[in-house]
Symmetry: C2
Subunit: 346 residues, 2 copies
């Protein structure tokens, strides 16, 4: 086995989890060996048949209905991972993955929209189950980081390297901010501004859209989670399908403070979501303003091409951070790491 | 001692070495404890008096002549580190630093313009001297990386973490390219384009200018090193003070290949140097073009503000990579690392 060869599991098979499985097929040193959702788990220590698993989740016994865009997950009682030939029904799919975890180097927690302590509680289960390896999440909310930091000692004792906030933002753009800060001796502000066009991906990313709605005035995670599909549609309609967000609670702030880049309150995150077009409504940028040692004030800038989808910008970095974390884990570095402390491997 | 507290030495007190000492004063967890040049060494395990050392190097017994810009290094027989109160003359200044290296966590090799095997040979001396810690260089040339890789096992056995090419390019911009690549499953091209305005810094960065001249057609490192100051001036005059470089041999190519981002020949480096203005003649950018997993071709872009000087963009990253490498070293990760494998700490 090459020292970069890595087996990994995906918890959650929504848009992010499934696309992570798909993107991993472009990474010869990454082998997906397990995947689960609420009702089922698929484990194959020699490597999942990703195409078959995705087809089963997306098509089920009958082809799924779509609006002409990409495949979406089916949500019937016999759908999801359990529909795959490698899948079995389970009352405790996460427990099944923990049981198999001796053969798993890293676990991607692709569950962005559950309650705040869901990811920390899953991490606790991995600690209790004797797992020593890498856990990576794609969480968004600042307040979760502290819950994970409280567990740092437990992770260290278990030999777990936990990378928190490793999606697009926080994640990709947090790393870009940390890098752009290197010209400066003092960082005055970090502005993260994202654009997402999600027409064909809308069906498949309702969890992400719901999480975004929770950032709007008058909503929080709980009220957003309890919205019916019709209520979500009504909110989307009220905004003409294009919703602008400002001052979002994204963990870029605490993750950059952790890394010593700047105070959390110097970081602002906002963006525009368009669920009726695949074109981005605005260009995704990271701008970092600071002072240089020789007395200049300046602004460095990182810009993603409008042609890069949200899915590409979440899953590439998530797997990149996962690979980088496996390297750290194998070198014996345990505990909690943010994206600004670890450059994603390719 | 906090686990990020780091003592470091600087070998070379040209523009880069001296500005690294200066920039380190903004980093509370970095303590410079040693510095040397060809004729002298200053060591103070409790921390050098940086202002006094820099003043002694730059002013000597009499204030140095400048063209109204920043201070420059004096080059008389009693000048340099030896002129500082903490400095002493030495026949073997590097040997003196190796002798004191039990108290040194990291060494910045700020000697960009010597012969190709100078840095590898200095590293050999640190290995032979029993040093275990971090070595960081700001080299530019692709061919040196292989010489360092040949020593990877020796570094691992010694407990040395060597970060090669940790200045602006390679270094800062290599890291930016690695990050910008994360949207893609296949990187088609990386273009690094730099602008440097070096009027007031010209006197102090003749080594860098000479290294750049070696990239021009008809020159190599040896012929450039043997040019008299008058001959360098003549070349600069022939170009009207503004020299454009294309297809430079900068190690960004092999460092990105090492990190698995793309083939070395997909990387191009070029730029424009203006020694008669402090304004940058062109904006420094990194553009990375690739294909996403969902079939788009796109170009991500990283851009440095024109107000950031070459000195800011070399020394911030060099110390950032140094700090990140100390963390790796303390976790037990040894050998050779490129900037794309390590995000600079702030």
């Amino acid at each position: 086995m090459d020292d970069t060869d890595t087996t990994f599991a995906v918890i959650g098979t929504g848009g992010i989890g499934r696309r992570a499985l798909e993107v991993s097929q472009y990474k010869p040193d990454l082998t997906p060996v397990a995947a689960c959702d609420k009702h089922g788990v698929a484990i194959d220590e020699t490597g999942l048949d990703v195409e078959a698993v995705l087809a089963a989740i997306e098509d089920g016994p009958e082809p799924a209905e779509t609006d002409g865009g990409q495949e979406v997950k089916r949500h019937g009682p016999d759908d999801g991972v359990v529909a795959a030939e490698e899948g079995t029904a389970s009352d405790d799919p996460i427990g099944a993955i923990i049981e198999a975890s001796d053969a798993i180097d890293a676990v991607l927690l692709a569950v962005p929209n559950y309650e705040h302590d869901f990811i920390p509680r899953v991490a606790d289960r991995f600690v209790e189950g004797g797992f020593s390896g890498v856990l990576v999440d794609v969480l968004k909310r600042s307040r979760v980081i502290g819950m994970l930091e409280e567990r740092a000692t437990a992770f260290e004792e278990a030999g777990i390297t936990f990378v928190c906030g490793a999606g697009a933002t926080p994640g990709f753009l947090t790393g870009a901010a940390a890098l752009a800060a290197q010209s400066f001796v003092e960082v005055e502000s970090v502005d993260i501004w994202w654009g997402v066009g999600l027409k064909s991906g809308y069906e498949d990313n309702r969890g992400t859209v719901r999480e975004d709605i929770a950032h709007l005035e008058g909503y929080d995670l709980e009220t957003a989670r309890n919205l019916s599909a019709a209520e979500v549609e009504e909110i989307v309609d009220d905004h003409g399908g294009v919703i602008e967000f400002t001052d979002m609670e994204h963990a870029d702030d605490v993750l950059l403070e952790r890394a010593g880049i700047c105070a959390a309150d110097a970081v602002t995150v906002g963006g525009v979501l368009d669920v009726r077009s695949d074109e981005k409504p605005t260009t995704t940028t990271v701008t970092v303003t600071g002072k240089t040692f020789d007395g200049e004030r300046a602004t460095n800038r990182f810009e993603l091409d409008d042609a890069t989808s949200m899915e590409a910008n979440v899953n590439g970095p998530a797997l990149g951070y996962l690979k980088a974390a496996v390297r750290r884990n194998r070198a014996g570095e345990y505990g909690v790491l943010g994206p600004a402390e670890i450059l994603p491997a390719f």
